[in-house]
């Protein structure tokens, strides 16, 4: 049930993205938190530790020795019936890799913030989406926020989505390192009592609890027939599909609670009359949108499709928005070696062969791409299509000239 519209009961704060995530964790009354320091995630767990020390959040904070242990710990907590949370970045996320898959296939609800960051070498703490996107086959629902408010909203809604009986999959919430994690922006935070009414404590029995004295179930012994494994994966796939509706439902309720409405899986700006669609994910979508506005002023019929959730893959949204478009340009702040941009690779299969398409690899390693540069890249693409007809470029490395 949805509480009454309570815009009045929200407080406006100015917080960096990491602290906004911590605030959402507090409001969700998470029971067990475990994480390991890594820039640019560290501010989240530092803030949560403070909240616990001050008694604002009654939770166990388990100070583990690695990210692998952090995820293992919150996984154990979730299997024991707790609402649990972890957070990490790049190398830390990869150190969790085995556990990511185990947790997802165990079908226990969990939430993790991934503050996106480049993977070395060389060592580099700046923003790239490759880390978050590298876990996309593992069974996690994966979202990516555009701003601090959305990082907060995505974290809070993640618990509701993950624990939904139709879903029961872990949720990863991505936010861009430094660009969001360390940048202060104003945001509205709902009151605890409204959140409590909307997000009750987790039911420890769903999907199951492993605890002494509990039902004598064993989770995870060998299957009698390997087909069991296939059936379980198909169930996972069904839950991913169901999650599309659940995400929509949850944001619908959340919109009533907070007055903030989202896509939910994607959002398309200036798309209704657009002949060209740009596609992006994360914080730089703001800069790309500025570029789109400029191009509109110049008379270019272009819109921006922003992906909020890459898992479940928003196939219907994407095909719907690009249907009939003359050209699609996809911005990837990530690189799948030997392939190209991850979003471009995933989306290109849905772009009709008579539609022009360019995959742009930009911001790799974390360099900033300005609205001016986005404007130029998109203008060039549209001009070329108008000039030459069908253009299909799977990867275009956008590398600015620098002094070396």
């Amino acid at each position: 049930m949805v509480g009454q519209v309570s815009l009045a009961k929200q407080v406006r704060k100015v917080l960096v993205g990491d602290h906004a995530v911590a605030e959402a964790v507090k409001l969700a009354k998470v029971n067990v938190i475990s994480a390991y320091p890594i820039t640019p995630q560290t501010l989240i767990v530092e803030r949560i530790s403070e909240m616990i020390e001050r008694g604002e959040l009654k939770a166990d904070y388990v100070r583990v020795e690695s990210e692998f242990a952090a995820l293992a710990t919150v996984y154990g907590a979730a299997a024991g019936g707790a609402r649990a949370f972890t957070a990490t970045s790049s190398h830390g996320l990869f150190y969790m890799y085995e556990m990511l898959w185990w947790a997802a296939a165990s079908r226990v609800p969990l939430v993790m913030a991934v503050v996106t960051r480049v993977i070395g070498p060389p060592w580099n703490i700046h923003d790239e989406h490759t880390d978050l996107l590298a876990i996309r086959d593992s069974g996690w629902i994966i979202g990516m926020a555009q701003n601090v408010q959305e990082a907060f909203d995505m974290t809070l809604t993640a618990f509701k989505i993950s624990e939904d009986e139709r879903v029961l999959l872990p949720v990863a919430v991505g936010l861009d390192g430094f660009i969001l994690s360390h940048t202060a922006e104003p945001l509205d935070i709902p009151a605890q009592e409204d959140v409590d009414a909307w997000l009750p404590p987790r039911n420890p029995k769903i999907p199951y609890t492993i605890e002494p004295g509990g039902e004598a179930i064993t989770m995870g012994n060998l299957p009698r027939n390997d087909v069991y494994h296939a059936i379980l994966k198909k169930y996972m796939d069904e839950s991913m599909e169901a999650a599309k509706k659940v995400i929509a439902d949850v944001y619908n309720e959340y919109g009533k609670l907070t007055g903030r409405n989202y896509g939910p899986l994607t959002e398309c700006y200036r798309c209704s009359d657009a002949k060209y669609i740009a596609i992006s994910m994360g914080a730089w979508s703001g800069d790309i949108l500025n570029a789109v506005e400029r191009l509109r002023n110049e008379g270019y019929p272009i819109g921006l499709l922003r992906i909020r959730y890459i898992r479940p893959f928003p196939e219907e949204d994407i095909t719907g928005w690009i249907n009939g478009a003359k050209g699609v340009i996809i911005f990837d702040r990530d690189y799948s070696a030997g392939m190209g941009g991850v979003l471009a690779s995933e989306i290109s299969g849905f772009i009709p062969s008579n539609t022009s398409f360019e995959g742009v690899l930009a911001g790799i390693g974390g360099f900033d791409v300005s609205a001016d540069e986005f404007t130029a890249i998109m203008r060039e693409f549209v001009d070329r299509v108008e000039r030459e007809g069908l253009v299909r470029i799977r990867k275009y490395w956008y590398i600015p000239k620098i002094e070396r």
Binding site: P207, I217, T218, L232, Y235
Partner: protein, 91 residues
């Protein structure tokens, strides 16, 4: 069917005999208790890895041959050598 229910029997298992098979068929040697020698001490029950020896109310022991794998531990630990390992098929 809810997701939680779907996991039952695929991801979640419940206790049952023979989850690893009818293991009595593995047996090459069969432990045979010589009840005239047996002192009902329960030592074989204590060490049988397969939990196929019952130590009954009257302290006598009984082997469940459906699952006994014929390892011979019971015969080895019996303090009075009351268990013989007899080749299967040999009377």
């Amino acid at each position: 069917m809810s997701v939680a229910e779907k996991l039952r029997g695929l991801l979640l298992s419940t206790p049952a005999e023979g989850a690893g098979g009818r293991t009595g068929t593995w047996r090459v040697y069969r432990p045979v208790i010589n009840y005239s020698k047996c002192t009902k001490c329960g030592i074989c029950w204590l060490y049988c890895p397969e939990n196929v020896i019952e130590w009954l109310e009257d302290k006598s022991v009984r082997i469940d041959y459906n699952y006994c794998k014929g390892c011979g531990i019971c015969a080895d630990v019996c303090p009075v050598k009351a268990i013989d390992m007899v080749k299967e098929g040999v009377v």
